[in-house]
């Protein structure tokens, strides 16, 4: 095997610092790297792990590569890790990162992101208002709705409220997402809703009340899952029949006949979370990135958000199809959180949660 042939696809940007021969190792390595000074022709994106990434890889990347002649290099990760990636790689970041509003405010405040230039991205004008986030620091591409999923063999009736998780009859049949996931934080705000009786927009600020109420689930034998593979295994086997989960991670499988279904009407409301494409502050491939964002916001691609992922699209002209409406419910009770507040308090909330469940 000739290593040189593999270095024909080197990582793009990093090796221009050849002049910085800080160590002999770099000097020795120099001949192995064949990349040009400008990283043209390649775009590094980090997509949200799971079916979300799959959709972009299957549907957008071929079209993008054909239209621009550039190659897309993709990595998959989750919001929490992406922020760390952004921070540790701030001087050599990826070109685009796909994570939700939960991380955008924090990243923008730390100066890790740059806002999109709406003038260069035509399709941003076609976005529903809710999807233009944080003064255009994020271009929302999909609404990752989070709701209670259940195994249809083990649970015959569809849950009608989040509060059912606290029923004595459901002890040891429930799971909750980890606090490291954004949905874990939403569970606390929903618990606050239930405990205080206030509507979501007010209750979400009372995190202590939420935590106290959520803690009761621990005695009820709730399992906190650590990642998607566990949650999927729980739902698919009926091991734990009631699992809060993101629709975009699982809806396509439902169409293949898995015995899993979403609770589409929950009294306290479903959890909406806008996921967007975000540009790191020191990213280099601006033009290519803007093309990528524009294509992701196009009507053609956005209608796949509906037809493949069965989720709510960001494009104002793409309305949910029938099957999507089945899985999403009437859509009039999807609630969004104040992530500016929640991300500021996340560290404190995480400690509180860990003291109970960790």
């Amino acid at each position: 095997m000739n290593p040189k042939s593999l270095s024909a696809h080197p990582a793009p940007v990093s090796v221009t610092r050849r002049s910085v021969l800080r160590t002999g190792a770099v000097g020795l390595a120099a001949p192995w790297v064949a990349s040009p000074a400008k990283a043209s022709g390649q775009l590094n994106v980090v997509l949200n792990q799971g079916l979300l990434a799959k959709l972009w890889i299957d549907e957008l990347h071929p079209a993008f590569e054909k239209a621009t002649g550039a190659k897309v290099n993709v990595q998959q990760s989750v919001t929490a890790n992406m922020l760390a990636m952004l921070k540790t790689q701030r001087d050599n970041p990826p070109d685009l990162m796909q994570f939700s509003e939960a991380g955008v405010f924090l990243a923008a405040e730390e100066g890790l992101l740059r806002p999109h230039n709406a003038k260069n991205i035509a399709n941003m004008a076609m976005l529903r208002p809710a999807f233009r986030l944080a003064e255009d620091f994020s271009a929302g591409v999909i609404d990752a709705v989070h709701t209670l999923y259940y195994n249809t063999n083990a649970q015959k009736t569809r849950p009608a409220a989040w509060a059912e998780m606290w029923d004595a009859a459901n002890a040891r049949r429930i799971a909750i997402p980890p606090i490291t996931w954004n949905s874990g934080v939403r569970m606390v705000t929903t618990a606050a809703q239930i405990a205080t009786g206030k509507p979501m927009k007010d209750a979400q600020y009372d995190l202590e009340a939420g935590m106290r109420h959520l803690a009761k689930l621990k005695d009820a034998g709730a399992v906190a899952y650590t990642g998607a593979p566990q949650a999927i295994q729980m739902l698919q086997s009926g091991q734990v029949p009631l699992v809060p989960f993101y629709g975009i991670f699982i809806n396509p499988v439902l169409d293949k006949g898995a015995p899993i279904a979403p609770a589409t009407t929950l009294r306290e409301g479903l959890h909406g979370e806008v996921v967007g494409l975000n540009m790191p502050a020191k990213a280099r491939n601006l033009e290519l990135a803007e093309v990528y964002v524009n294509m992701s916001l196009s009507k053609e691609f956005q209608s796949k958000i509906d037809s493949v992922l069965r989720a709510r699209s960001a494009h104002r002209d793409v309305n949910p199809s029938e099957r999507t409406r089945e899985l999403l419910g009437p859509g009039d009770n999807i609630l969004y959180a104040d992530w500016k507040f929640l991300s500021k308090n996340r560290a404190k909330l995480t400690d509180m949660w860990n003291n109970v469940f960790g």
């Binding site: 593999l6 270095s7 990093s14 160590t23 890889i57």
Partner: protein, 281 residues
């Protein structure tokens, strides 16, 4: 132990049962993965309701599977070879030469095994970015090298310390130059450590996820990362089929190498040790 005399003894029976039991436990996940890979259903189930080969055809669906395999093989082979070569020097120093602070050096070299890999990954990526070599295949190699060098060092130290220094002295007194003595006497005595050290280093590097996840980007990717990505977005047995295939291939290579060069028998036995020849018991 004279097998013929004691084999009927209950203790010997117990040991045999324990041995076979341990082996069955060890092989269970491999068997499990293989069985599951032939399942006909859309989801992973054991035992499967029906049988099918379709997931083997599906392996190509794993994102960038070809590139991942090539990079993984490249990194693992280089890491294995380089780690073993470097470890030779370290082991010789630790065992044969009067170096002060051996215990400390030994502990330092083998300590990467105990450090949380996550921490190493984070520390290294920041360092590589600062150096300007981030996300290249050789920076990934360096990360793997640091991690796996501990294994050949251990096995070589074990090999060397159980071999006989008197032979080298004899060679020296017969006029052999140090380098000659090394290649004709010492190196063969180190063979067991070399082989098992290389195997450990290669296999651990090949399957490493935590350190790779921090050090890759762009065109660079490795097998465990693509498998994990696949498992997070598909629920079918394709990863089981894939793992079965490459495990089988690696097993065949090891078996062939055993036939040709007796590497496995040699990896634990040794010609010059105080116990004498063992491989023909």
């Amino acid at each position: 132990m004279r097998r013929s005399e004691l084999v009927a003894h209950p203790l010997e029976r117990l040991i045999a049962i324990a041995g076979w039991g341990a082996m069955l436990f060890l092989l269970f996940p491999v068997v499990f993965t293989t069985v599951v890979s032939f399942g006909a259903g859309e989801l992973i189930e054991f035992p499967p309701a029906g049988w099918s080969l379709r997931w083997y055809a599906h392996i190509g669906e794993i994102h960038r599977v070809g590139a991942a395999v090539l990079y993984s093989l490249l990194i693992a082979t280089c890491a294995g070879v380089l780690a073993t070569l470097l470890a030779i020097g370290v082991a010789l120093c630790l065992v044969r030469l009067p170096v002060p602070g051996k215990a400390v050096i030994g502990a330092l070299v083998t300590s990467p095994v105990a450090v949380p890999i996550v921490a190493l990954g984070i520390a290294l990526i920041q360092f590589f970015i600062w150096l300007g070599i981030s996300f290249t295949w050789y920076s990934l190699l360096i990360g793997h090298l640091v991690l796996v060098i501990a294994y050949p060092v251990r096995t070589l130290v074990a090999s060397l310390s159980l071999s006989n220094p008197a032979l080298e002295e004899a060679a020296a007194s017969l006029g052999a130059r140090p380098l000659t003595a090394f290649f004709t006497i010492t190196l063969p005595q180190m063979k067991p450590g070399l082989i098992s050290g290389f195997l450990f280093a290669f296999l651990i590097s090949f399957d490493n996820y935590p350190i790779s996840i921090f050090l890759v980007r762009g065109a660079l990717t490795v097998l465990p990362i693509e498998v994990f990505n696949y498992i997070s977005q598909n629920f079918d047995p394709t990863p089981a089929a894939f793992s079965t295939i490459y495990t089988l291939l690696l097993a065949l290579i090891i078996v062939w190498a055993e036939r040709r060069w007796s590497i496995i028998s040699l990896s634990v036995a040794s010609e010059g040790g105080p116990g004498g020849k063992r491989s023909d018991r």
